[in-house]
Structure formats: C-alpha cells, structure tokens
C-alpha cells in the first residue's frame, strides 16, 4: 500500500499533542541577552506569559494581583523588578553583573521585561542563572538566546538546568 518509504516513516510515529485544544499549556519564557559592542552594553529582553506572572504573584500573597490591565502599576513594577533580580543573574568571568531594571511592557498575552548592563566589555566566559517561574511551574522551560553582532547561541534551561556556563560566543 505504501509505495514510498517516507510515508511509512510518517505513519510510524506517534503524534503528541496538547491536551486542550486551545490555551497555552506549555510554560516557556524567552530571554534575549544581546551584547552591543558599539555601546558596550548588554541589553536583555525577557518574555513571559502574563497569566503565568499573574498566577505567580498571586501565589506569593493574599492580596489579589491583576495584570494587564494592572490593578496597581507601581506595585507591579516593584514586584516585577524584584522578581527579575531574584531569578535572573549574569556573571562575566565570575563577576556578577549589576543589572539595571528599565521597565516592562505587555505585548498580547506576554509581558516583556527590559533590563541592561552598561559600560561592559565582553568576557572570556560567562554564566547565567535562570530560575524564572521555577519551581512555581514544574514544566517551565526557559530559553536563553545570547547574541552579539557576530554570532548567536540558544540554550534551553529548566528546573534541572538552572545554571549555564559558557565561553563567550564568537
């Protein structure tokens, strides 16, 4: 019946699909870490799902936290800044970088968190510690993309891999 090896291969493998037909049931964050050599700056953009952040903040307090629209923007600014500092750390050649929180923005169902480090030279090696929504979401996956103007590398971090050690990209 199958005249074609490729067809057989397709039909031999199980399809794994999300349980629900609709909502996001995968837990992902993406952090882009971009080194801009002309400015000697490290620019970080973190994307998380807004409803995950909302659920996380609500789990930490009895108060009801609402995001997008924010029930209390200033309070949430503080929460997000603290959240980021506690859960994302960057080390250049064993020195922890002081990351400045710039702000945040909603884009559809995601929250973007903007942070930066100024007056920075590229290192020989670097380390990233990423515990975004870990252990709050047991299936949380955190993608980290490290870029400069020559190359880029992506990494998948999660509860089993919260620390990343690498030589600088080239």
């Amino acid at each position: 019946m199958f005249k074609n090896k490729i067809s057989i291969l397709f039909f031999l493998v199980i399809v794994l699909f999300p349980l629900i037909s609709f909502t996001h049931d995968y837990y992902v964050s993406i952090t882009e870490v971009v080194y801009v050599s002309e400015k000697q700056q490290l620019q970080l953009t973190t994307r998380v799902f807004t409803d995950d952040m909302e659920a996380y903040f609500n789990s930490q307090t009895n108060e009801t936290i609402l995001l997008s629209p924010d029930h209390n923007s200033i309070l949430i600014d503080t929460l997000v800044e603290r959240f980021f500092h506690n859960n994302f750390k960057v080390f250049f050649d064993d020195n922890e970088l002081e990351i400045n929180y710039l702000g945040r923005q909603y884009q559809e169902d995601q929250m973007l968190i903007f942070t930066e480090v100024t007056e920075l030279r590229p290192p020989i090696s670097y380390e990233i510690q990423n515990t975004i929504l870990i252990p709050f979401r047991t299936k949380q996956q955190n993608i980290v993309r490290v870029k400069n103007n020559v190359a880029q590398k992506s990494f998948l971090m999660n509860a089993s891999k919260t620390i990343l050690n690498q030589l600088w990209i080239n």
Binding site: M1, F2, K3, N4, I6, S7, F10, F11, V13, I14, V15, L16, F17, P18, L19, I20, S21, F22, T23, H24, D25, Y26, V28, I30, V34, Q43, L44, T45, D51, L66, S68, P69, L102, G103, Q105, Q107, E108, D109, L112, F114, E116, T131, I134, P135, F136, T138, Q141, I143, R145, S154, L156, A159, S160, T162
Partner: protein, 753 residues
C-alpha cells in the same frame, strides 16, 4: 546584407559577454538532486489509487467501516463511578476479511500501572516547593481504567480478547468477511477522575461549598479503532496527548443519573417528557422555536436551589445520534440551561449552553449566541451544519470537542467581574470547539497522525469567525504577523507541520497557529478569496462524513483552483523554512549614445568598433564607470532612438518615452518562496503596489531582477507593506534601507521621550 551579418555577430558576441566569465580550470563539481522549490510533491505523496484519487477526492473503491452502538449507562454520583453496557454492530465495508477487531480503552491511561504514567522524563529539580515535593513523593495512584466484566458475542458466548494497555483486540470466532456485520456486547465500569486535579479531557469538577460535582463525560466506553486503506488498523496507544481516529455510526444511548440532574449529550433527546419537569418542558418547547435570543430552561436561581437537594431517585435520559464518530455527555444538578433555534440553510439547528452559576454573568450573555454565530459562519465556508444541535458546556480549564457537544473554559471572578482576556478567551474557545464539529467530527481526519488537519483547519475558520463576530476582534492566531516569532525562533525548537519528531516543542503554534496562518496567507495573498473559498468548500464537501488524509486536502486545493500549490505545501507544511524577502538594490539606468566601456572592450577584442553596430539603444547604469553626469541632463541621448521614434511616429500613436529607467534586484535569504509584493512610492507622493508572481523564483531562488520604467521618480520601495507574508526580517524590506528597531530599542526610546 552587411548590417544583418553585423547584427548577428554582435548579438553573438554580446550574448557571449552575458554568460562567459573568467575561464579558470575548476575542480569537478558534485551533482545534486532536484532541489527546485517548485518541484512537485510526487515523492512525498502516495501514488493515487482507487481509494483516493489524484484529484484528492474519494476514489471509486473508497470505503469506510460503520460502527453502531446501543448503550445503557449509569452514573453513580455518590461513588463517582460509571457503569456501562453496550451492544456494538460492526459493519465491514472493506474488501478485506478481518480476523480480529481492535477497540480503544482510553480510560486505561489512568490505570495504576499504566505506562503512560511513566512516559515523561522526570528528575530531581535543584529546588521544589515543599507541597509539590510531598505530593510527588507520597502520591497514591488513582485507581482508574476500565474494569471489563464481559465481552460476548450476540449469542452470549464469551469472546477471546487481549488487552494491550489502551487497546483491546477481540478475536473473531470466524473471520468477518467483506460486507458482513458482527454484533457483540461489552459490560464495564470505571472510577471517574477529577479532571481539575488531574488534567484530563473528561471527568468531574468538585465544588466543596455545596458538595456537588459537575460531570463532563467522554471516552467512557470501549470503542472501535479505525480500519482503513491508509493505515490498516489505527492502533497506536492513547498516551493522553495524541487525540482520536474514530468511525462513523449511529448511537442509541440511555443514561441514568439522579433525577435532579440536567444533561446534554451528543444526539437528540428522545424522552424530554420523562426527564423534564412541566415547567422545563414548556420552556424547552418554546426554545425550539425561538430564534432571536436564548430561552432559559433552568435558570440560575433554580439551579442554585437544587445544589442542596441530592435526589436519590433516578431518571434515564435517552439520546439518538445519526452518523457521528463519538459520544459525549455533561450532567449535573448545578447546571443552568439555555437554548435557542438557529436557521442554517433550510433547517433549524438548536444552539444550547450548560453552565454552573460560576460561569455567570459571562455565559448567560455570550455562550449560546457564540454557538449560533459559529454555526452560521462555518456553514458558509464549508457546508450547512448537518447535525440537529450544538452544545457548549462550561468546564474549568477545558477546551475539548465531541460531536454536537464541547467543553469550554471561561470563568469570571467570584464577584462576577471578568477581564477582556477571560471574555475573549471564552468566546474564542467556544468558536474553536464548536468549529471542531466540522473538523474532525464531520470531515473526519485521523487526529492521532495529523493533528493539524483538524486543529489547523479549525483555527483558520475560527479566525474568520472571530473577525466576523466583532470588528477588530483580538484574534490570537491567524494574522501573518503573529506567527513570525514562532517561525523565526530557534530551529532546535521547531518542527515542520508534516512530521512527528519525538519531542515536538511549542505544539500550539506547530499544529494550530502555523497551519491556520498558512491557510490565511493562501486565501488572502496567494489564491485570493474566490479561488480559495471554492476549493476549501470543495474539500469540505468531498470529505464530509468521510476520512481524508493530508494529501486529499493538498490535492483538492489545487484540483479545484488550477493554482499550483506544491511549492506552498512544501515550504509551509513540510519544512521549517521562513519567509525573508528583501530589496537588494535599486539601480537607475540612463539612455546613452554610446555603449559602456565593458561592451567597447569586449567588442574590440574581436577587432570591431562600436560605430559598426546596427541600430542599438545603449543603457548605462549610474554606478558603472562609464557613467557621466551629463547623461542625466540629456533626455534624448540616443540619436538612433530619436530617429527611430520619428520614423515610426504613426504607429506609436502619441506614446512618449518614460523618463526613468530602473533595475530592481530582490533577494531571498529565507527558504520559502513567496510572491513579491512591492509598494513603489513616487516623488509626487503617489504609491503603487505591484505583485510579482511566486514563479519569478523558479530558476534562481536567491535573486530576481526586474526592469522598471516610470514617468515619476521612485523615492521609496517597500516589500510587503501590509505584513501579509509573515516576513521574519524587516531590515531588508525597504529601499532606501531602514533600520528596524528591536523591542528593546523601541522601549528605551519611549522611556527617554
């Protein structure tokens, strides 16, 4: 004929110039296969046969099995158990004799020792909150799975059967011949799971305040697997993620529940007088003929009163459904029930909703209306909804579809307030799940193999339905710009739509978003609405109440439109390539009186001079070394051209030479070929959009050059100005080059300002 000779020799020389490069000895190149973007999909598709034609339609020998069920079900509310007994009539319409039948025992993924419980990797995390740790370490497995009491033939004789996890093989006493029927019975029971605590497509939600449950029940009976010409027996295990391949048939299902329950199910209720109170029956009859807004059969107050009762007497709801592939039902004493009639084609269809009070005020306001809207729009694009009804059931964290009934999330806060996100999330999921009646309940594709065939097609029509529900509806999927982030993401974490890698990441975009967006692009940009809608309708109607495979869809879309689409399926469905088309350069050319230096040099090699040329028009581009500023001033630099125009004035009927001559070069760093949509902006402020057909890429997939003439100076060129092609890289979409700011840069600028 000296001039002719000169012409031909010139042409010969010049054409040589075009193609010859520096002749240096090269190493022998290795060959390659046909990698052309427009290669037809002969190698990927099965050879057409008498079951499925090359046209993409059911063939002359197309067959499908039919399986009918007569079931008696009892729900034990107190003990959360379901008891069932079924008589199955299996009709073998295949040309083959069958020695055994395979049945699906989906509840068995919840058996204590189910392999599915161990299917995922697990590890000790660096840290875990204490509650999860304890739960994980001390977890008692749920005692789920079917407990089969008997499998008997129509004479009551036991049938030999073998259970392999979620599949059961029933060995037939004699092979079932082609065209014959086999009748047998099964009796079983199982423990119903809590679907909120243990995510599942069915089960109950427990409400501790009034000690009651809301049941959404599906996959509750041993049911036949599909046997067909493409798979033989579809007999992959149910791992709780892959969905279903199911047979059409007729169902008669009697369900016994506490008499204060309200129920909806697949099929038409046969005995409303027996199960509804007088008042409910009156309202029910009224609803059947009310078209403008839903009629409440059980209102919130009444449902709330029932929460305290817990009837001990039982009643039996009887349903009959024709030509359905599955059966689901929802039952609870907590349900509010509303219903209205909808005109679809020349029939009346019932739209109804079941929801506990936790769904209000949202559900009373929107659910049934959204169901009605969905039926109308989906019918427009495919076929008139053929079933008698469509039900939307409120269920926490759910979004799941069955014939004529579906479970949908959307719960406001306890105080009745809700965000836009909850509201639109609910409307979208209702549209999506009701839409599933079309794909895969009626256009019955194999979900376990090809999730995109129902999810992708449904999400696509869902997008059209959302846009018609409300102008500027915040659709999450469908618009090409929304799929860019996924498609341009790390290749390590994305897979082609048409493949099943072991660890498919981002399944939502993979099976829902990307195929839906691809179809949207096909409709709006490649084929146009008229050709697309006709082909899509043709596919839907060819395969309604049948089992299509992906090729049947691909072939039909081409067959009914005469638009070659192999390149499109290959790029969008079979690969993870991206769209990235840009303008590489825009060069201005001028008419010159003599040729450029390159031509001069070449010609002199042959011992000729350019004044011996027959009548030629010479073009020099502004970047060449032969270019001189004075070319810019003289409009009519070419005597030859001027004379020719004079001599042929009569036949040229007043046409004048364009002022501007350009050569534009397009590049394509992305793998997918697409038509090139270009917007030219002129110095006088006017704009013009031109679309070059995708075939421009057929010989050189990296570069396409176009010759343009104009009476107005071009000041700007933009590729795909309305973001219709999911172009992942906008930095090369403009001439002059425009810097594209990252989200980070845009944010910083906004903050500074």
């Amino acid at each position: 004929m000296k001039s002719n000779f000169l012409f031909f020799s010139f042409a010969f020389i010049f054409s040589g110039l075009l193609f010859s490069q520096e002749e240096t000895p090269k190493a022998v190149q290795s060959g390659h296969k046909n990698n052309n973007n427009f290669k037809q999909l002969y190698e990927e598709f099965s050879t057409p046969n008498r079951f499925r034609t090359a046209s993409g339609a059911p063939g002359i020998d197309y067959y499908q099995q039919q399986v009918d069920y007569i079931m008696n079900i009892e729900l034990d509310d107190q003990n959360k158990k379901l008891y069932g007994e079924e008589t199955i009539t299996y009709t073998n319409n295949s040309p083959d004799d069958l020695a055994y039948l395979w049945l699906q025992l989906d509840q068995n993924i919840r058996k204590k020792d189910a392999p599915a419980l161990e299917k995922n990797t697990s590890s000790f995390a660096a840290m875990e909150d204490v509650e999860s740790f304890v739960e994980e370490t001390f977890k008692e497995p749920f005692d789920g799975g079917f407990n089969i009491e008997y499998v008997k033939d129509s004479n009551g004789k036991p049938l030999r059967n073998t259970i392999n996890q979620t599949m059961m093989r029933v060995d037939l006493p004699t092979p079932l011949k082609s065209g014959q029927q086999f009748v047998f019975s099964i009796k079983w029971w199982y423990n119903i799971n809590n679907h909120v605590v243990d995510r599942a497509r069915s089960g109950y939600e427990y409400f501790p305040k009034d000690d009651n449950r809301v049941y959404v029940i599906a996959q509750f009976f041993p049911r036949l697997a599909v046997y067909n010409d493409v798979e033989g027996w579809q007999n992959y295990q149910f791992w709780d993620n892959g969905e279903f391949a199911l047979n059409f048939g007729n169902y008669e299902v009697n369900i016994t529940v506490p008499e204060d329950h309200i129920m909806e199910a697949t099929g038409e209720l046969q005995n409303p007088k027996e199960v509804l109170s007088k008042v409910e029956l009156q309202r029910y009859k009224k609803a059947l003929n009310t078209f403008d807004k839903p009629v409440l059969i059980v209102n919130q107050e009444e449902a709330q009163i029932k929460e305290a009762t817990k009837a001990t007497k039982k009643s039996t709801w009887k349903f009959k459904a024709q030509n359905v592939r599955d059966f689901g039902f929802a039952t609870s004493r907590r349900f509010i029930w509303d219903m209205m009639a909808v005109k679809v084609g020349n029939k009346n269809v019932i739209a109804s909703s079941l929801y506990p009070k936790e769904g209000n005020p949202l559900w009373e306001e929107y659910s049934t209306k959204v169901v009605a809207h969905t039926l109308k729009v989906y019918s427009k694009y495919t076929f008139d909804y053929p079933y008698p009804k469509a039900v939307s059931v409120h269920s926490k964290n759910q979004g799941m579809e069955y014939p004529m009934i579906c479970w949908n999330h959307g719960r406001p806060n306890e105080d009745g307030t809700y965000s836009d996100k909850v509201k639109y999330g609910m409307i979208s999921v209702i549209i999506h799940e009701v839409g599933h009646n079309y794909f895969p309940m009626i256009v019955n594709s194999d979900e376990r193999q090809w999730g995109w065939m129902d999810e992708g097609l449904d999400t696509f029509v869902q997008y059209l339905t959302e846009q018609e529900f409300e102008p500027n509806y915040p659709s999450r999927r469908g618009d090409p710009s929304k799929v860019i982030r996924y498609m341009s993401g790390d290749q390590d974490f994305i897979s082609p739509i048409m493949s099943n890698p072991e660890n498919v990441f981002q399944l939502g975009p993979n099976a829902y978003g990307k195929p839906a967006t691809a179809l949207n692009i096909l409709r709006e940009t490649i084929m146009g609405e008229e050709l697309f809608d006709y082909a899509f309708k043709t596919y839907s109607q060819r395969w309604m109440f049948k089992h299509p495979s992906p090729e049947d869809f691909f072939r039909t879309m081409e067959d009914a439109s005469a638009v070659d689409l192999d390149w499109f399926w290959r790029g969008w469905f079979y690969s993870t390539d991206v769209v990235d088309i840009g303008v590489k350069s825009l060069k201005r050319f001028y008419i010159a009186s003599k040729p450029n230096k390159q031509v001069d040099d070449a010609v002199s090699e042959y011992g000729m001079t350019s004044d011996l040329f027959p009548d030629m028009v010479f073009m020099i581009d502004e970047e060449s070394e032969s270019f001189s500023e004075e070319l810019k001033n003289n409009e009519m630099n070419s005597e030859v051209l001027k004379n020719y125009l004079e001599e042929n004035k009569a036949t040229l009927s007043g046409k004048t030479l364009p002022k501007y001559y350009y050569e534009i070069e397009f590049e394509k760093p992305g793998g997918i070929v697409m038509p090139i949509i270009v917007e030219y902006s002129y110095v006088d402020g006017t704009k013009e959009q031109v679309t070059y057909p995708v075939q421009v890429w057929r010989k050189n997939p990296q570069s396409v050059t176009k010759r343009i003439t104009s009476n107005k100076e071009i000041v700007k060129v933009v590729i795909d100005p309305k973001a219709k092609t999911a172009d992942v890289n906008l930095s090369n979409n403009s001439w002059p080059k425009e810097e594209i700011k990252s989200d980070f840069d845009k944010f910083k600028e906004a903050v500074k300002g």
